[in-house]
């Protein structure tokens, strides 16, 4: 057995190959090809790798384990660089340069980049978000956190375009009576924008402008003889002079009817609301405007075709779009007078100016007619000024008549220089304390006084009443009371007026107690008189009883100039 085991050992020793580890050369092992069945271990570095070998002709790869990058060594450039290309797995998306590169286009220049907005450009001088909101026709932008919008012209605002219309008719049109005008009918709308057909034939222009009307009609003559037809233009129901055209419709030839398709145009200046008609008449009612159904190969033939195109004027989508809240393309003004004051009302496409007459009942303000103006104007002189008018009398000037209208105490009746009223007259009434200095014959009354007067003037007639009251009667014989200074100067009756003469008489009395006159009956009141003494007008009262007379009264009327 022992011999057997030794023999096996020797046998295995002959054929087995022992594993020998040798030190690796400085530049590593060289191999033409390598094959690995699981992993490949390559050199690792922290940061950019370096070559251990001084042999620069070989490429190399290494791994930056600190920054998680692959590097390769290009022997042609002798530079270590990160691996580029070759699929996403090898693209560096971490390093700054690659991140920037992913956000930029290769054609971007630095000059272009200065125009880009950055997300952080938010402080009042950069717009950091521009977007147009669909359906709202706006560009939205922000300054900081504030939202703004710019409405653009796309969408709701129609682009400026001329008004137009295209119409045709697909029914035969005949004339019932020869040489009678029949408006051509246009009962099919092909295109319409501001131009419509009203009542089958009226080409109605909604917007003022210059329009081109181009028409054509297919006339057919089934007769063996040719006949004339005439076509002309009618505007707002009135035939337009010079617009007629006469066309000969050929006669039937063989089995084929005669046909002609006249066409011409009119360039018209239309005001919004105008309507036009193309009118035709025929010398023979057998001639008609014909519609032909589609044949082979031609399509159908319209009996009448009309196109309307705007040439100038306010195009659709331009110009004023609203007036006093109304947006109608054509709007009108009307006058009314049903309100109590000036007022404008707008409804539909009509603006109504309510201007009532000032003379109507319940009016706050309104117009005056020429007749009313003339009446009013005739009451004022051409030379009257505003300051003068304030002095005119009005019917309502009653409470302030004296202060406002008349010069003090003067009034000239009838406002004329007629003889009867040529001189101003005075109307005055005043009263107060009598401050004259009486003169007594006999013993004067004395003590506390209460002297009063009342003066009234109507025209030239003056009435003065003087009342003297004392606490002690004295025993006067007569009392002379000077006429108050404000009283107008008496005019002396003819033949009188010398110093000391009596001019006027009145009624005067003296008495002792307030309720009891002196004397009885007719003696209770006596005459008083006005005289002039040393150029002083005096009213004199006599105390016939010569008894205590604390009360004196005189009433006298005189005239002045």
């Amino acid at each position: 057995m022992k011999k057997i085991l030794i023999a096996v050992f020797c046998f295995l020793s002959l054929f087995s190959k022992g594993q020998v580890y040798q030190s690796m050369p400085q530049y590593g092992y060289a191999a033409h090809r390598m094959s690995f069945d699981s992993t490949l271990q390559i050199p690792t570095f922290c940061g950019v790798p370096t070559l251990k070998s001084n042999v620069l002709k070989f490429g190399a790869i290494a791994f930056d384990s600190c920054n998680n990058r692959f590097y390769f060594y290009n022997p042609k450039t002798a530079i270590w660089d990160t691996i580029k290309g070759g699929g996403s797995g090898s693209t560096d998306t971490t390093s700054l340069s690659n991140r920037i590169n992913l956000k930029l286009n290769i054609s971007d220049t630095s000059a272009m980049l200065t125009k880009y907005l950055r997300k952080t450009d938010t402080t009042n001088k950069f717009v950091n978000n521009i977007a147009r909101t669909l359906g709202k026709d706006s560009i939205i932008y922000f300054i900081g956190s504030t939202r703004y919008a710019i409405k653009d012209s796309v969408g709701t605002n129609p682009a400026p375009v001329g008004y137009y219309g295209a119409f045709q008719d697909t029914i035969n049109q005949t004339a019932a009576v020869i040489n009678t005008g029949y408006p051509m009918k246009l009962r099919v709308n092909d295109l319409t924008n501001g131009v419509t057909i009203v009542s089958d034939s009226r080409i109605t222009i909604a917007n003022t402008g210059i329009y081109n009307l181009q028409w054509s009609a297919q006339f057919t003559n089934p007769l063996a003889s040719e006949h004339d037809i005439t076509i002309w233009l009618r505007k707002n129901g009135v035939d337009v002079p010079g617009s007629s055209g006469i066309v000969l419709v050929p006669a039937k030839h063989g089995s084929s009817d005669g046909h002609t398709l006249p066409s011409w145009n009119f360039l018209l200046s239309a005001v919004g609301g105008d309507y036009y008609e193309f009118v035709w008449s025929t010398a023979n009612t057998s001639v008609y405007i014909s519609y032909s159904p589609a044949g082979n190969p031609p399509p159908s033939t319209a009996s009448v075709i009309l196109t309307v195109t705007q040439q100038s004027g306010i195009m659709a989508g331009t110009g004023m779009t609203a007036l006093n809240g109304l947006t109608g393309a054509v709007q009108t003004f009307t006058l009314d007078s049903t309100n109590t004051t000036f007022k404008i009302t707008s409804s539909g496409t009509e603006h109504t100016f309510n201007i009532p007459n000032a003379s109507a009942s319940g009016i706050t303000r309104g117009l005056i007619s020429n007749t009313q103006y003339t009446t009013f104007n005739n009451k004022i002189g051409s030379g009257d000024t505003a300051s003068m008018l304030t002095n005119y009398l009005r019917k309502t000037d009653t409470a302030t008549l004296q202060n406002k209208i008349l010069a003090a105490y003067s009034f000239q009746a009838n406002k004329t220089n007629a003889t009867a009223n040529a001189t101003a007259n005075t109307f005055k009434d005043t009263s107060g304390v009598y401050s004259g200095t009486p003169t007594y014959s006999g013993t004067a009354p004395s003590g506390t006084t209460n002297h009063t007067f009342r003066f009234t003037q109507i025209g030239k007639m003056c009435t003065i009443q003087i009342n003297l009251s004392f606490s002690a009667g004295g025993s006067p014989v007569s009392i002379s009371m000077p006429l108050p200074s404000f009283c107008p100067t008496p005019v002396a009756p003819t033949g009188m007026g010398a110093d000391g003469e009596i001019l006027y008489t009145g009624v005067g009395m003296t008495w002792t107690t307030r309720a009891i006159p002196i004397g009885t009956g007719l003696n209770s009141a006596r005459a008083c008189w006005m005289r002039i003494s040393s150029s002083v007008y005096q009213i004199v009262v006599f105390n016939f009883s010569a008894s205590s007379s604390p009360f004196v009264s005189a009433t006298l009327t005189y005239y002045t100039n």
Binding site: T439, Y440, G447
Partner: protein, 61 residues
């Protein structure tokens, strides 16, 4: 100014001051009949004649 007045004369407002007119009397005021015969009513005053509203005059006939 020396003058003859009623004794009841007063300088008060609303009170009479009655002066006798003596323009034509050329004798001493003391000899005036009103002083001689009616000294209970009249007296001689030597003061300014007031000019209030109740100044009044008398004529001696």
């Amino acid at each position: 100014m020396k003058h003859i007045r009623q004794i009841s004369s007063s300088f008060e407002i609303n009170h009479t001051y009655t002066v006798v007119i003596t323009d034509n009397w050329d004798k001493p005021l003391e000899e005036h009949p009103l002083i001689l015969n009616h000294s209970d009513i009249y007296e001689i005053a030597d003061c300014e004649i007031p000019t209030n509203n109740n100044l009044q005059f008398e004529i001696y006939d």
